[in-house]
């Protein structure tokens, strides 16, 4: 046993300093697709995006990051219009309203975010030092579970931030849901949600959970089953993205969409 302890010590500290300090890996992360500000009214061929995330309404191009599976086809085909969002913890990591994932944002979005933030703040007031999270897989491809599991590992180590995973929904403050929302999981997901005490917060982690992703013709994400508070794009989202969402959901990071972090 002592051999293991020594080996662990010899490895030194590998844990990220984020959010206190910037993290190089998080900043080098390639997030969902955004529209270049100068692109304006460019015309984009229909059917370019395999999930239909690109909208051209009112003469301007918008990307619904909640549908983006990060295949990068649009960035390759039209680098003059589309670009990767930079960083895993920036404003593109998570949103407080579904429509806030549509970039550039439509003007009404600000009000929706403000309303969502006020609603969330009322619920997170009680959660200060200790947050308990229950994860439910509602039909993921399995990669999201690896990324959530990583948060419990030495590199991300969310225990240092006072976040713990719990087995029982009765002890949970946050419900972290992955997957496209399969019919088979609708019942168990609802039961888990109902089993949690109020106040409770729901995070939809990953493009599948937000919109169904590539399966949107048959599955439309988890919001059809339970109300979602925080939306995390990505296929799968990076561990830093999920961590950012957890911190936003619990009021440990605020002012996110206004860009206060960067």
């Amino acid at each position: 046993m002592s051999v293991w302890v020594l080996r662990g010590l010899r490895g030194g500290v590998v844990t990220t300093r984020w959010p206190r300090r910037a993290d190089e890996y998080a900043d080098s992360w390639r997030g969902p697709v955004t529209v270049r500000p100068e692109a304006g009214g460019a015309s984009v061929p229909a059917g370019l995006c395999p999930t239909g995330a690109i909208e051209t309404t009112g003469g301007s191009v918008r990307v619904d990051q909640g549908k983006c599976i990060l295949c990068g086809r649009c960035v390759t085909e039209r680098p003059d219009v589309f670009a990767w969002a930079a960083g895993a913890t920036g404003p593109d990591a998570a949103a407080l309203a579904r429509q806030a994932l549509v970039v550039p944002q439509v003007p009404e979005t600000d009000e929706a975010i403000a309303a969502a933030r006020a609603g969330l703040a009322a619920r997170t007031a009680a959660l200060h030092r200790s947050v308990h999270v229950r994860h439910v897989d509602a039909g993921s491809d399995g990669s999201e579970e690896w990324e959530i599991q990583a948060l419990l590992g030495p590199v991300y180590d969310i225990h240092r931030l006072g976040i713990f995973f719990t087995a029982s929904p009765r002890h949970a403050d946050v419900l972290l849901v992955t997957g496209a929302g399969t019919p088979g999981m609708a019942g168990p997901l609802r039961t888990t949600y109902e089993g949690m005490p109020d106040p409770k917060i729901v995070i939809a982690a990953g493009t599948d959970a937000v919109s169904g992703g590539l399966l949107a013709d048959r599955l439309d994400g988890v919001s059809a089953t339970i109300p979602v508070d925080v939306w995390v794009p990505g296929s799968p989202p990076s561990p830093f993205g999920i961590l950012t969402a957890l911190l936003i959901a619990t009021g440990k990071l605020t002012g996110h969409r206004e860009g206060a972090l960067r």
Binding site: M1, V3, W4, V5, R7, G8, G11, V14, Y25, W29, R30, P50, I69, L70, C71, G72, R73, R134, H135, V136, D137, A138, G139, S140, D141, G142, S143, E144, E145, W146, E147, I148, Q149, A150, L152, G153, P154, V155, F165, A167, P169, G179, A180, T182, P183, G184, M185, P188, T192, D208, G213, L214, L215, D217, R218, L219, S235, P236, S238
Partner: protein, 482 residues
Amino acid sequence: MTLTVTERSVAALWDALESRVARGGRFAGVFAARRGDTVTLTAHVAAKEEGEPGGGIDMLEAALPPGAASYPSLTPRIGAAFWYERVIHDQTGLVPDGHPRLAPLIRPGNPEEHALPRHVAGYGLFTIPHGPVRSGVFESMEYLVETPGEAIPHLNMRIFYKHRGIAGRFAGMAVADGVLLAERAEGIASVAHALAFCHAVEAIAGCEVPREAALVRVVHAELERIAGHLDVAMRLADAAGLAVANTRFALHKERVLRLVSGLCGSRFGRGVVVPGGVAAPSAMRPEEVRAELARLEKQSIADAELLMGTSSFLDRLRGTGPLTPDRAGEHGALGPIGKASGYSDDARLARPYDGYGLLAPEPVGEHSGGDALARLRVRFEEAERAFRLIRQAVDELPERTRLALRAPCEPPDGRAVGWAEAPQGEVLYDVTIEDGRIVCCQPRSASFHNLVLMHEVFAGDILTDFPFIEASFGLSVAGAAL
């Protein structure tokens, strides 16, 4: 090379299949496809006669008579078809006559029928429903553990919770979009699924993948294998309560995923494999890759050696969840589970693809223990060889890429089977293309083929062995339920 044999009737199809299996072929799956009014049954069999390499996966098919509602079941003749025929029943409503237990597998059934089934009866026996929402971060599935308190005389599994309808979604998709879906069929084996899909498409198109692209594919497929095996080691260490070992393997796995994202932008190698080759050259310089690989290899192998010398850990794995070589051979157990029980049919060796023919991977040693310990040994050996293969592949790649990484690949109408060896074992894709679109695509993961074996490995094991057995299988529910 794939051979397609069309039989006149289902009975003739099963006869042909049985005689192939009797001559050493491996049953690799059966599925039904409905086109218009015609339902066709297709069985896949891996050509393994006399262990001759170079044989492909053959397709044996037969159309059902119009309007047929049932057909003679294959399961009484080839037991490995047990789950496959339940899926056929779920998807088409066809009844395999003589199937031993035709309960829904991937389709949620009637809740009334869902009352806990009892297979063993007796004083003090009860059923523990475990799942689908389980303690810890797991994929959703339900285990029904029938127990008198300690022993596990019977286990039942329900995987329908995660059934997403992947096979149905493929129909009508453009080929380029099909790869994206294949990558998301079983997320922790994204590269292998994309490879198997693309191999089928490339076989239809008759296109040759450029040498460099074939090597880049090997690099990604082997990194995926290392990450998968480290994940299993991490879960086993966690089950044994070895906190430091758990975090060490979690650290190594994270570094592998970071290396993959450094190479291609995705931590799961998504977007790399495309029909005809690979999408883009590596974003890292070869010397950077070599340095990171060397560090990873040294540290993870040192930790693997220490783990295999930690007696409190080995005690929990030795003799746990045994699968006998006879059963492994009979079922055609895939990947590390088969190898640990003396049955090996590694697609990279038996039916080489991409760069594997060139690099000649070394097979793992002979194992016949069949327990959780043997399975972990196989995984560590595979990971060690994977590091060697990646090194070889990186050395073969030129410093700066100017050559094409992608051959033109415009598949005409046709059908083919593609395969690849995932960390869990062989992945198969049976793809039919018409007018440049996918009309039918049947994916088959090793997770699906192997998971059914978990029914049989609890002989003499008790409840506290459960996490070890589950982790040692190392399968993905997403891949099994599709």
